[in-house]
């Protein structure tokens, strides 16, 4: 086992932080990098806070995966509504969508709600260059794990529609990925979107 000081791969400045995080952000040169399987700079976006909301500002990291899918066949007992239909481009059952996977540590229920909520309704936001002093929730999930979970999100979207899902034969390809920090307000009842 070896322990090393984390430095920015761009400017070599040491990274100082108050929390353990899988994503390392350099405030000097605005570079985000990860070290899972080697040092790698990441493409990322920071969403602007809704200025009309007040409270403790928190940024939550998400993996935004741009995916294409092809549905070959499906079977639902007692239902037929098909959520993936809304992203279908062609009659051959293919389409594209953005899947949002929360990268922070959430309990299964919160994880599912955030992933499904933002995937079903893609967030609209203006972006900014830095975090503006707002707290960042640490990321605990790697991109590889997020890619694995993309399939889980798709099936969950379908399974939670009326009826009991019996079969969904489809393929899902992740074309690109990006880290997106979405703004939230920490309230007494938990996190609330601040878009």
């Amino acid at each position: 086992m070896r322990i090393v000081q984390v430095k920015c791969p761009s400017c070599s400045s040491p990274i100082y932080s108050k929390q353990r995080d899988q994503l390392f952000y350099c405030e000097k040169c605005n570079v985000l990098h990860t070290r899972n399987g080697g040092v790698e700079k990441l493409d990322f976006e920071i969403a602007e806070f809704n200025r009309s909301l007040s409270g403790e500002k928190v940024y939550v990291p998400f993996w935004r995966l741009y995916c294409s899918f092809i549905i070959r066949s499906k079977s639902v007992e007692g239902g037929h509504v098909f959520r993936l239909m809304s992203w279908m481009k062609d009659e051959d059952g293919s389409g594209t969508l953005f899947i949002y996977i929360p990268a922070a540590d959430f309990d299964p229920s919160a994880f599912k709600n955030l992933a499904i909520g933002y995937t079903v309704s893609s967030p609209k936001y203006g972006s900014r260059l830095d975090f503006g002093g707002a707290r960042r929730m640490p990321a605990v999930m790697s991109r590889e794990e997020a890619v694995e979970l993309a399939d889980f999100v798709v099936v969950t979207m379908e399974a939670e529609k009326p009826g009991v899902l019996q079969r969904l034969d489809y393929s899902l390809t992740v074309n690109s990925s990006k880290v997106v920090y979405l703004p939230f307000i920490m309230g007494q009842s938990g996190l609330k979107s601040a878009l």
Partner: protein, 334 residues
Amino acid sequence: MADISVGLNCPACGGAVSVVEGESTLLCPYCSSTLFIEGDQGVTTMAFKNRVNRESALKASRLWWSRGWKARDLKRVGRTTEVYPIYLPFWRAMTRVAGWICGYEIRRHTDSKGRVHEQKVPKEVMILNDYRFSEIATDPGDLGIRSLRNFAGETSFADFDMIPTFEATTSKDDALARARSDAQSRARSSAKVSRVTMERLHVLTRRLSMVYYPIWVVRYTYRDRMYMTTVDGVTGQVLSGRAPGDPLFQSLAITAGTSVGGLAAALGIIMSGIAAELMIVGLLAGGVILYITYRFFRHGSEIVEGEFKHKPASVSQTIKELQSAARTLQEAYR
């Protein structure tokens, strides 16, 4: 969850930092530097501190001798020949399974006219659970230890020079594959979907570490035969062991078992005048009792506890075997 920690020094300021097992990053409490832990080929290695001494190991072993169906004079006649600690390597993995299992189950019910109806009940079950896995990373020989039971304790490599250490001989990839397979099968059984039409399960590896665990080996003789017990070097509990059985218990069991089994069968034959089914029930009950008695008598000369490769069947295992056979018969009958 994070039970194990080990002390290291910050490369930036030299301050002492504590690394929680499985974590890849930490913060120096003195200079606030973010630190990254690079494990050996990506695997964090830990060693539990030995907290048991020779006397405690012996005491635990002797206490184990007096429990269960072991020879009643074992404590008086048994002679300890060796007591020594060793470090055994274990793979330890934490996995998360996320996915869905869809399918259906068939429910049968009988109406007032005695007709059996079948109902197909569709099911969709979401899986989102964490699973813990451990397995020994070397050939355990005759020690009867294959997995870790305790995951909490202080870690330290301080005892490594004094305690013989077994080298890991199994590969990380194989261990990881087994951990994933174990998590997947546990997720499947938790879903309880008997007839599966679709399964999409994803296993994420949260942590993989190599844990060196202290074990005390106590070898002893009883009437010129060699036996052993192993004692957990952290908790002080007996993990596995072999001990002589008691001939008196065996004799009593065979006498009582054959009598009760014979009586059950005879009762069934006598009651056949009332209903033919009673004879079948009686004969079956007698046969089951005789089988359990035979298994106990056959293997009762040695009491074995732990995860041995070739372990004689216990009474509970025999009952499980019978239950399984009954289920198979029931399915075949349907």
